[in-house]
Symmetry: C2
Subunit: 325 residues, 2 copies
DNA sequence: GATGACGATGACAACGTTGTCCAGTGATCG
DNA sequence: CGATCACTGGACAACGTTGTCATCGTCATC
């Protein structure tokens, strides 16, 4: 900036005025300054600006599990869109379901003085964010609730969704329904299993522990084999998330007779498979949007008590859940 | 920081020393300072740090077309991973194939003094980045080459891929092969069409302009109808990218007799469709990794002339391209 | 001709940090 | 006992901006 000032033969402050479109600069002077800016390729240092102004850095942080997962990339895109409407940039990071990494990313973003933080929790302890929240940085948790702190949270109705999946299968005559879910430490996995149980109870289907698998997606194929070999075997499946659904579909591809299936999370091409895969659909974009909107409402001054938004899910019957036992 | 100093009863500089693990602070003093930091929830302002140190902001910018597209989210993840290894955070933004937005994002990131920029070009003119490049900010273009500036570029072998797709279809007896591609202004679309032509020539298949569609993905279904209604009709298709492939698959789902198909870009579940979809596969992660590695090589001091890396593509025959006319 | 109003410009401090340099305080040594 | 030294701590400037206030012409007015 001082280079520009020197080249234009004015003071540094006048350059600042031109850059900020402030009034009170003679047209000729402004012209000279603009020419100098152009010639030197000057770009105002936003970091310094933020330091000086002290208010907003114009960024928000987004910590999720894995951007490459279409669920989270949809969420990311929606959040990005909202941020754009509010003139903010987005810092993203993937935690890979690692609590330490989640913490590291979140604190790093805070040290960069993001205006707010959207977090898909990997861990269950978020006390480390308490100082940030106390000092006024809004934090919104998505998809899973935080532990140790009270904060805005956007969830989906996992219980209702899983229950509905069971009831749907039961309506088509299934009595041996298996649940292939994620590791039990993950909130959504636990909730969906709870919903599965509830659905069994409501549909009058026996809940058989031998037909339940709780483990990382890598074990999905093995778990599938197990529940299909149970006695009596499972005739229908509820899969706990999009990754597991895909694994199961791949494992099922070779089998002559396939169990009925309802997957949690919708995914592209589900409707084009044979048979088309019925799912409990939830819109990742809706989650991202809701979380970001909530964040910006806080940034806009909303200081009501922390809210918990639970978005509905929707059973999309496509065929795979409609086959009888 | 001054609050911490006051609470600990030391000077602000001593706090700085503690924060930076500098030697020359008495253990008791350090302890007091750490306690104060803990109590106040102090977090060092990285913005101010960057300003002071003047060197690196520890961030890189990533401008792409749409994070929600699995191709780009895979690319993003890989770039993020490389950035992480180099201790950098990532600012992302989606341009939506809009040159103005691409420019806006890139310049915004530069104003934030990112250490480097990875850009998937939406437009064809990148002169606006010349000052940044000249002033030492490395920029790497991915998937499409830049216009107006010389810079590192990572591409895939679009021509070879499309040509191979044609030859594959020709080997299975097809003589009426259609190309459903993206808008001709997009580099990859143009290149793939060029490859398609070359493939036709090499395979001795007549290149028929009536079997070529160049348009946004929204027109894919209409274009498909057109080439299937041509006289004589297309018996095989090459689709220009993953979005178009999906649209075409959906449009084909209703039809009794399907043309053979080879899609550009691999996509999840392609192998589980009926018939499994043959594709020209390219690894988006590989693109992102290569681009990021190149960027960090530049940041590491590599000042050789701009490089152009062309990653190979791989035909993955799965069935949809092997059916005869 | 003095006064005031106004438009254009600049000097200076401050944002939160850290690098540089200097000052005190004991301890050690000759 | 004085000089030196190691160690600890602080004052100050600077990074690139902008907000505040002061300065300096110029011109119209009385």
């Amino acid at each position: 900036m001082s280079d520009v000032a020197r080249l234009a033969g004015v003071s540094i402050k006048t350059v600042s005025r031109v850059v900020n479109d402030e009034p009170g600069v003679h047209t000729d002077t402004a012209e000279r300054v603009l020419a100098a800016i152009e010639r030197l390729g000057f770009r105002r240092n936003i970091g310094a600006l933020n330091l000086r102004r002290g208010s907003s850095t114009g960024t928000i942080g987004l910590v999720l599990e894995d951007v490459a997962n279409p669920f989270y990339s949809g969420l990311t895109r929606a959040a990005e869109e909202v941020a754009r409407r509010h003139g903010r940039q987005v810092l993203t990071g993937s935690s890979d379901e690692d609590a330490g990494r989640e913490r590291e990313l979140s604190l790093e973003f805070c040290a960069r003085r993001v205006d707010g933080l959207v977090v898909v929790p990997a861990g269950r302890r978020h006390g480390y964010l308490a100082p940030e929240i106390a000092s006024g940085t809004p934090v919104v948790f998505v998809d899973r609730p935080p532990g140790e702190v009270e904060a805005d949270t956007v969830l989906v109705d996992n219980v209702a969704g899983a229950a509905e999946a069971v009831e749907h299968l039961a309506r088509h005559g299934h009595r041996r329904i298996a649940f292939l879910g994620d590791a039990p430490g993950i909130f959504t996995a636990a909730e969906r299993l709870r919903g599965f149980r509830e659905g069994c109870a409501r549909a009058g289907v026996e809940f058989d522990e031998r037909l339940v698998a709780r483990g990382p997606e890598e074990e999905a194929a093995a778990s599938l084999a197990r529940v299909l070999a149970a006695d009596p075997p499972a005739t229908a499946l509820v899969t706990g998330n999009n990754r597991i659904t895909v694994r199961v579909l791949r494992a099922l591809a070779g089998l002559p007779r396939r169990p009925a299936l309802v997957g949690f999370d919708d995914f592209e091409l589900a409707d084009l498979l044979d048979p088309p895969v019925s799912v409990v659909a939830l819109d990742p974009g809706e989650l991202g949007r809701a979380a970001a909107e909530l964040l910006f409402a806080r940034l806009g001054g909303d200081s009501s008590p922390p809210r918990r938004i639970v978005l509905p899910v929707r059973l999309v019957p496509r065929g795979s859940g409609e086959v009888g036992p």
